[in-house]
């Protein structure tokens, strides 16, 4: 890695964003979040009601990046083998003998769209666990590596909707970010209507190869982080645990479980990308604070009171950040 690749990071990122922006109207934060997940070696979970362009976003991204793309439509009757692949009995054309041959499932791609992931049963959802964490699939005792970069983009409908199965905590924890896709604004919707009902179809160019993505991942990993910022991230994670030393009143009252250490990893990884995008070469507390909601909103589990009161995890995270930032400022003079 040299200075050129470092400086090219932002340019490449901007080019991808621009290309995606040709199709996706608005939702810049969502696009950025998805790209950050991609470059942070994580996976993204997009949540939103149907029709907000989640699938379009992922598909567009796959078109922008010169990578393999598979889409898995999760349904209640989807089986794990339908995702991972399975051994099927095949006849050897040469010898005529019957042999079991592994037939890779749709998960064997660089970019996997797990559409409406919460419509499948937890058993099927769990089929993604190994692939997402280990970047490998084990079938019939044999492990198959997935090609890099491997990036899962899952979409889900809000849990309250009919016919959904809430993702298990272990599954949720595998996602770097959980991004809430908002409804488009008036102007955005107007543009969407214009773009999709006319004859003109935007031409999407591939701007990044898999190698470039891997290089960008390497650059992001090397962004240094000071102990001050790292400690802030750690304290933030610990503060999500009720009855911990740094837990806020809100956490103690409304949170059942706090974030796992994966949350801290996700915070730092996401913050590093944000620092580079901001033209810095060091991670700042602001970067941590910026990615914290997306990192923690699916890792902090509310208790009954929290659910009943309608307290969002974002509010709890903001409360913790406010408290910690005040502590850092107070220690200055």
């Amino acid at each position: 890695m040299d200075e050129t690749s470092v400086r090219a990071f932002r340019d490449d990122f901007a080019r991808v964003r621009d290309e995606v922006g040709k199709v996706i109207v608005g939702n810049a934060d969502i696009v950025d979040g998805v790209l950050i997940c991609l470059l942070s070696e994580g996976h993204a979970l997009l949540e939103g009601v149907p029709g907000l362009g989640k699938t379009l976003l992922v598909r567009t991204l796959s078109q922008v990046l010169d990578l393999n793309f598979n889409r898995i439509q999760f349904t209640p009757d989807l089986m794990p083998a339908d995702i991972t692949g399975t051994n099927i009995l095949m006849e050897d054309e040469v010898t005529g003998r019957k042999i079991f041959q592994f037939q890779p499932g749709p998960v064997f791609a660089n970019i996997v769209l797990a559409d409406e992931i919460n419509r499948a049963t937890p058993k099927t959802q769990s089929a993604m666990l190994e692939a997402m964490q280990e970047h490998s699939v084990t079938v019939a005792g044999k492990q198959y590596r997935l090609a890099e970069p491997f990036f899962v983009l899952a979409t889900q409908n809000p849990i309250e909707m009919e016919g959904t199965y809430p993702l298990p905590e272990a599954q949720l924890d595998r996602f770097l970010f959980k991004l809430i896709v908002p409804a488009p604004s008036l102007s955005e919707l107007s543009i969407i209507v214009d773009r999709t009902t006319g004859t003109a179809t935007p031409k999407i160019n591939k701007v990044l190869t898999g190698e470039q993505v891997m290089a960008m991942r390497q650059v992001a990993r090397e962004v240094p982080i000071s102990s001050l910022v790292r400690d802030f991230a750690v304290k933030l994670i610990l503060a999500t645990h009720p009855r911990s030393e740094t837990a806020t009143d809100m956490v103690n009252r409304f949170v059942r479980f706090g974030s796992s250490p994966r949350g801290a990893q996700a915070l730092v990884r996401g913050a590093k990308i944000r620092a580079l995008l901001d033209g810095r070469y060091n991670v700042a507390i602001d970067d941590i604070s910026a990615v914290a909601p997306a990192v923690l909103r699916h890792r902090v589990l509310l208790n009954f009171d929290g659910e009943a009161e309608g307290i969002g995890t974002d509010a709890i995270v903001r409360d913790i950040i406010t408290r910690l930032s005040a502590q850092v400022s107070a220690a200055l003079v």
Partner: protein, 672 residues
């Protein structure tokens, strides 16, 4: 690559720290100001508490507001500033401040931390270098004023508010609207009396310093301090009287201690009397007992009526001067006359051949003692010691010296100079045994003891005078109802005797005489010259002292014609009066107090006051008046009046219990 090249060229590990130095300095100054403000705030809080305590009269005297306020604030500032000075302002601190204030997003602090990171020094650590270049660029363009603009912190605002509060606490309670006219008058009285007391105390202090009277000096300083407090502070009469009482008690304690040190139970015989006794015994031996009249002074009557002279003075007869001259007081003043009257006495080699002549040193010592000059005594003892040790004494002279020392020892018995007496006796014994060396040593010890005991006596007497001055000031203030009631002069003892000669003469005479004694003590004047024709009415003519009451009312004798000089004590000149003068004898006042009854007589003894009687204080006159009211019918009312006085601040708080005890003791049902 350009950035990395720039980094290699410009960035050194110290570059970033150096770039942050101005900011660190500014931060240090700000922290100092902030911490000092906190300290000052504490000092102001203490000061406000002190002011409140002062208004509530619970602030100890040792902590005057004038000192407490500045000291508290300065101490607070120092205490607050010390941690700020001791705490180190690092580049990291400055970096964090700048980042927070200018939104630099941990660029500087991260770079400073990465400087120490080994991973950052590798050639492959491109991002570390880029980060450092980025941070250095920001640090170099940093304006300390922008990062740390001057802003009044809450501490500074609180200090300002605290000062305002302190000023209010000081000023508001003293605004005229909050002070009653009576209180204002009282304070004016106290202030005026405080000024007077300060002047008086300064005079006493100077005198005490000049005559090496340390305790008196210290007490005078206390008096001066009290005077200054009274003059400066908003003190009412009650507070002032309490302080007077406290200081009086303190002075009494010191005086008691001094008296104890000077020889407890050694009697009250004065040095003058001892000198007279010694002179007589020497003369009796030297003149072969042939003196039909006093060989020392030429006056026929000697000390048989010492201390009572003047009683027989017959003012108005024209001869009173001669009679008055019989006073032993005049003996003391006429020491030079001793040599005139008896020329041979001054020269041991002349006259009285065949009779042993008194030792010259002892003779001179006697003369000095009669003047109350203990230093003269010690000087002569040292001379005699030297002569004895050098072997200059013939056996006859040695024997004579032994006898004279014995007489000296005898004469000193009963004086407050026990050590001197003891060593004199030891010297006499040593001479008797022929041990010249020991005798000389003892004589020197006696001389040293005389100096020391004299000094202590002087100190004790000085203390007594200071106490009297204080008491007088207290009385004057207690009795004053307006500032004009307080005389302007702090040396009120100047001028003529104001003795009226009537039945009140005692009181007035006492007062005047005491003032005169004060004046003499202060001015160093007062050596009596009123020998002979002076009817002996000049109080304190032998010098300052406490024999104030002895001649009370004598001034009434002057209208009787004859050549009675005007009694101007300011005319008295001479050496400093000695504290061992009989007039300083405190017991004399109690033992010999004269009261003149009636009005100035007519006829033969024109100008003579009414009948003079000698009474002890508190005793009824002989064959005294008969009360028309049974005392038990009156004591109740008197007690009530006393209680009223006690409650009405006229009586110092320290004495209130005594007043109550007194009336309780004399009420009929208490067994009296």
């Amino acid at each position: 690559m350009a950035a990395v090249q720039e980094y290699v060229e410009t960035a050194t590990p110290e570059s970033l720290s150096r770039a942050l130095t101005p900011l660190a300095s500014r931060l240090r100054a700000f922290r100092l100001a902030r911490y000092a403000s906190r300290g000052a705030l504490g000092g102001i809080a203490v000061s406000i508490v002190a002011v409140i305590c002062s208004h509530l009269n619970v602030l100890p005297d040792a902590l005057p507001l004038e000192a407490v306020i500045p000291v508290s604030i300065i101490l607070g500032v120092v205490v607050g500033a010390v941690p700020a000075l001791l705490s180190r302002i690092t580049s990291m601190d400055a970096a964090r401040i700048a980042e927070t204030r200018l939104g630099l997003k941990e660029r500087l602090s991260s770079a400073l931390e990465f400087e120490k990171d080994p991973a950052a020094s590798g050639q492959a650590a491109v991002l570390f270098r880029l980060q450092h270049v980025d941070a250095l660029g920001h640090a170099r363009s940093l304006a300390p004023r922008e990062a740390l603009p001057f802003r009044a912190t809450w501490e500074m605002k609180a200090v300002l508010g605290g000062f305002m509060l302190l000023l209010l606490a000081l000023i508001v309670p003293n605004l005229p609207v909050f002070i009653s006219p009576a209180t204002r008058t009282e304070r004016a009285i106290v202030r005026k009396e405080g000024d007077k007391l300060t002047v008086k105390a300064r005079t006493i202090e100077k005198f005490a310093a000049a005559h090496q009277m340390p305790q008196t000096k210290r007490m005078a300083q206390d008096m001066q301090r009290l005077g200054e407090q009274m003059a400066a502070r908003k003190m009412d009469k009650k507070q002032a009287l309490i302080k007077y009482s406290q200081l009086t008690k303190q002075m009494q304690d010191v005086q008691k201690k001094l008296t104890e040190n000077a020889g407890t139970g050694m009697g009250s015989k004065s040095l003058n009397r001892a000198g007279q006794q010694l002179a007589q015994s020497l003369q009796a031996a030297g003149a072969n007992g042939a003196a039909s009249k006093d060989p020392m002074t030429g006056n026929p009557a000697t000390s048989s009526k010492a201390g009572t002279s003047g009683q027989k003075g017959s003012p108005g007869t024209g001869k009173s001067g001669e009679k008055a001259g019989q006073k032993p007081a005049d003996h003391g003043l006429n020491i030079p006359g001793f040599n005139k009257a008896n020329p041979s006495a001054g020269d041991p080699n002349k006259g009285n051949e065949g009779q042993p002549n008194p030792t010259d040193e002892i003779k001179k010592a006697a003369a000095a003692m009669q003047k109350g000059d203990a230093s003269g005594l010690s000087d002569q003892l040292r001379k005699l010691a030297q002569r004895t040790q050098s072997g200059a004494l013939t056996p006859e002279e040695q024997k004579q010296a032994q006898q004279d020392l014995q007489k000296l020892s005898d004469a000193l018995k009963g004086t407050p100079m026990p050590e001197t007496q003891k060593h004199s006796q030891a010297a006499a014994d040593a001479l008797k045994q022929g041990d010249k060396q020991k005798a000389a040593d003892e004589m020197r010890k006696a001389a040293d003891a005389a100096d020391k005991e004299m000094q202590q006596q002087m100190d004790a007497q000085g203390m007594k005078k200071a106490q009297e001055s204080l008491q007088k000031s207290q009385n004057e203030m207690a009795g004053a109802s307006s500032p004009s009631d307080i005389s302007n002069s702090s040396q009120s003892g100047e001028g003529e005797s104001q003795s009226s000669g009537d039945s009140n003469g005692q009181g007035e005479g006492n007062s005047q005489e005491q003032q005169n004694a004060d004046q003499r003590m202060h001015s160093g004047q007062g050596k009596g010259q009123g020998k002979g024709n002076n009817p002996g009415t000049e109080p304190g003519e032998e010098g300052g002292g406490s024999g104030a009451g002895n001649r009370a009312g004598h001034g009434g004798g002057k209208p009787g014609g004859g050549k009675i000089p005007k009694q101007k004590f300011s005319k008295f000149q001479g050496p400093v009066p000695h504290m061992l003068n009989p007039k300083f004898d405190p017991t004399r006042a109690a033992r010999y107090t004269k009261v003149y009854l009636g009005k100035p007589g007519q006829g033969k003894e024109a100008g003579r006051l009414g009948k003079a009687i000698k009474v002890r204080p508190g005793a009824a006159p002989p064959g005294g008046a008969q009360s028309n009211v049974d005392y038990y019918n009156y004591v109740g009312d008197a007690k009530k009046a006393a209680e009223k006085s006690v409650d009405s601040e006229n009586i110092p708080p320290a004495y209130r219990d005594q007043v109550r005890k007194y009336f309780n003791s004399i009420t009929p049902d208490s067994g009296h």
